[in-house]
Symmetry: D2
Subunit: 343 residues, 4 copies
């Protein structure tokens, strides 16, 4: 649902080649829009108006909601009721009700679903029980940040009170909506901060760092708009914890390397390396991919950590498919090892 | 009028530093927009709502309309009536009534002004008589093309029946309007044709090539959207005329050089050079400038002619100021030799 | 051979996922370069110095030369001698000896191989006989242009004496070589012509338009550098032939559509559509893909034809794989239907 | 000296229009390079080979060295000896000898000049005494950072032990040198960190924050390469000091505003504003300008400070001219209020 948006289109692209999932009907608000113009392989996939959603979903097992939070919170209850597995790519089910109301600026219309929604950060999330259910697919910034910080916090490497996050995102992160400030002429040549200290992904980061990293953090958090189409670079900076500060820099980097190996040893979609600019690090090469690239430099007891993802794949559609893969007992990365840039 | 648009803002920028013109009140539809956010020197320039136009214009000599054609054709009559010099940057007064109706898709509402409107291609246009009047400021593509082709046609250099024009424009040419197809994510990485064979600047080019070049032409005409903020590159290609085809290529280039010298010898805002890639040729360096850069290569009896302008300066605001300069008996380039990129 | 260049790297990317070809050892001049930094799946692929080429090739069936023409013309003879199938991505074997000497500016060192080299434009080229042999993989501009023009010429649609080609290429077309004029600061914001009328792909276009289109053409030919990473847009313009000029525009477009269907009906890697801006047309979406996108507009008896490819895939590595697929009696598009942008 | 580099060319552009300084001969290593190709107004300015430097400088009062540090440290002594005012744009004279040797990786060849060199951060630097002398023009990152942080530190606003600096620069900051990692195809689509924790501007920042801010700081310091041509965005983040942390956020922002007014009230080249995204903030609009744009947000006791400059103007050529303006008792901003983008 929401096939015409950037994340929705990525979902279609991935699902069309998925070895074990078949793409069913898609839903879009724009009547004359043709999926096969964007994905030549999709000539047999019907694109239906939203009004046909409930009928048309009868035959499907899984529904992906690539819709705004306000739409998702209206659509999800009936789908769950109908026994569907639902993966919501919006922010509707990532926070508790109070936090949602505060950070999204309007009241939740299906808050009763919140307790049962599972925050689908892969590989950290627990597998879903079979049967109907709701996965809240993580936000793009939150994904990049959590993938990098959880192992660091678990290892006790940093003094969390010194944490600063400076994350930059490509323009597709804002979605395909006509807005003056997203015009080429406006975005090109700039790199400006926005929603400073009040981005709705901040409480999401805090909630799940507490859950999986075991630490309550109150970081400085800045987001900026990059003049690139896709990709997030999250820079995360902190002083080492007292215990780690006794190590020399190389030893600290080695221990970090070990921490990432432990965290992601069984998970094929993370690449990590110590060093200032590991050759594998590249926003362009992570684009189209469900991978997360992580690099780290320790210098004078300070940690410089970078996490790169494609905001539309690991940060949206790709992770949504990972969640379904696990739900269906497929390998988490099924259909996801092919990197492929659509934009 | 229309200060908030890209062309309007350029006008303000140029006029603020003009040695002999003082910028009066500006008009914009957006109430809370502040000109001084964009031009720090403009803190004393009032920005008024459109409703105050007629009152506020009482004290001014010249009114620039940086508004869409539909708005300009409504505003111009009263301003002329009030004795103002009016320079209209839209397409409202560049064509005859029939052609306007056909190419702009709606009926002209002040067609009676058309016969007296002067098409302000500088230096080709005749000076305006003093007193009230209306200058139709040329279109951006038309300017780039006419500046390059008029001297060539006057020299009899080409077989006009073979003429092909492939012109590319930066994204600011489409104005500051929120539209999906102008989003950064859409424009970046592309260079797609649009309005193929039906761009409204085609009849404008034809009309004034006939007037100043002395030849009726029916060229192949293609426009494309470049992933750059500002600037037009117009490529113009033709076989040489039989007389010129007898020359060797170097001799033909030398004669073209002479033709451009004759055309623009007294006009400081054209740079021209023979050769494949003269070092002066640069869209970035013409940006912010009222200059036109022209280069030409003759190879095997074929002419490859390139004309580069800034769509917002020579192609809009800068040429509008040239027109007023001449109207006020100032040097055509007064206030225009400073190059300065705003976007 | 030449795995570190942009085309070489694309070859590795494609071959790693090819269902029927196994990537053997790669060769690069840079000793400390690691393929797996760019392609995580390639951790087991050895990268060897050029000196080990002849030894290491013993076990392989096919050798791809992604090397400059000067290198290819030295390497190919021994490889052919050793019984290998050789696909050369350079310009070394696309022209006759005299033409090569003239357009490439130096003498050919293995001109005796030229008569047996097969110009591998797929699907136009005839299949290779089994056994050793040499395929000259077409140039990127030439590919885009020939794919668009051959069906048009075969249909007798245009007056070839009026043909003008204005082709623009992304910066990866110039290869990964450090050069001042290819720096980001230089290329960004520009779209300048280069090698006007003297690009080495012109004789290649002429030779094979004659061979497969049946017409000797002497087009105006312009190439420009686009500020995008990858992709070619070739604009091709001509007056219709007298026979076709009698048709109205829509009928001419319909006949063109038929001509493209006949030419490419059995070939899955061409998308074509009449119309000013078909929704499928997109440089970004063709990037990473072996597809060719073709659109055409007839207006007033004039043809506006556009052909879009990825210069690194259909214009280089992807077509090289198509050639080997056919050589090995695989479907031409084996391993090529996945679109995937690496840059 | 060094007119062909990006900073050198900017110097020429500014000086050509300076109301009180006349541009003398320029020096470049490339023999056939013509300044007037880049600056049409410069047709009378001679460009000489470096070998003529000492002779040709006889008649000039001021010499600008827009050369690498290794060249500047060789050229400066003789020029000072000859009684010239010298402004060096390189890093040769910004640090003490030991620090230079460590951070620039080679021994200083004219360390005896270091004690008398004046670090020219305007408006913080004291005016130069008349007569010969040496100004070390500040580095681009250092300028952006110091302009933002000095007033903050003087006001005692932050806990300096929590300071993190994440600064991003456009590609022109790396100069016009052919390097693979600066190719368009490499830079476009990326935003990667480099020289993490070891950038040579770090000790420069530390030295002058101590001098003018009164605090020894040991910040986390990250630099990244932006896919834009020019401009630096320096993000500076810290927890408020205990005294300031007692204020509510709005009160803290108001006090910061006062601190910037006190620091820059008499200096016309700083714009500052509290707020998340003040409308004046724009890398594109600061491009070509000697201005510094500063914005600040206080949220929950955390400071988010942004400082934007053009790396080539305030970060290089423009500040060099400011230094000479003050040396010659001209207004600091003479010749600098015109904004004009060359790239």
């Amino acid at each position: 649902v929401g096939a015409r948006g950037y994340s929705g289109l990525e979902l279609c692209r991935i699902l069309l080649k998925h070895p074990a999932i078949q793409l069913g009907p898609c839903f879009a608000t724009s009547a004359d829009w043709k999926l096969s113009d964007f994905l030549p392989e999709a000539s047999n996939v019907p694109v239906l108006p939203m009004s046909e959603l409930n009928n048309a979903c009868e035959k499907v097992d899984v529904v992906f909601l690539a819709t705004p939070a306000e739409v998702s919170m209206k659509l999800a209850p009936a789908l769950i009721q109908a026994g569907k597995k639902v993966v919501d790519l919006s922010g509707a089910y990532r926070l508790e009700a109070d936090a949602f109301n505060k950070w999204y600026g309007h009241a939740h219309e299906s808050a009763d679903l919140l307790p049962s929604a599972s925050y689908g950060l892969v590989p950290w999330a627990k597998p879903m029980p079979s049967g109907a259910g709701l996965v809240a697919n993580p936000g793009c910034y939150a994904t990049a940040i959590l993938m990098g910080l959880i192992p660091v916090l678990r290892a006790g490497a940093i003094d969390a009170s010194t944490l600063v996050i400076d994350a930059k995102s490509g323009a597709s992160g804002a979605g395909r909506k006509a807005a003056e400030n997203l015009l080429f002429t406006e975005v090109d040549g700039e790199c400006l901060p926005y929603r400073v200290g009040r981005h709705q992904h901040l409480p999401e980061v805090q909630r799940y760092l507490a859950q999986w990293g075991g630490v309550e953090v109150d970081p400085i958090f800045v987001t900026s708009l990059l003049p690139v189409r896709r990709g997030i670079v999250a820079g995360m900076y902190a002083r080492l914890s007292p215990a780690w500060a006794k190590l020399d820099d190389a030893a600290a980097e080695a221990k970090l390397s070990q921490a990432f190996n432990e965290a992601y040893g069984d998970y094929p979609l993370v690449q990590h390396a110590a060093g200032e600019k590991p050759a594998m690090l590249s926003l362009k090469r992570v684009a189209g991919s469900a991978r997360t690239q992580i690099s780290y430099v320790v210098k004078g007891g300070k940690l410089h950590l970078f996490s790169l993802i494609d905001n539309l794949v690991k940060g949206a559609a790709g992770q949504a498919v990972e969640n379904v893969n696990r739900w269906l007992d497929l390998p988490a990365h099924a259909g996801l090892l092919d990197r492929e840039g659509l934009l």
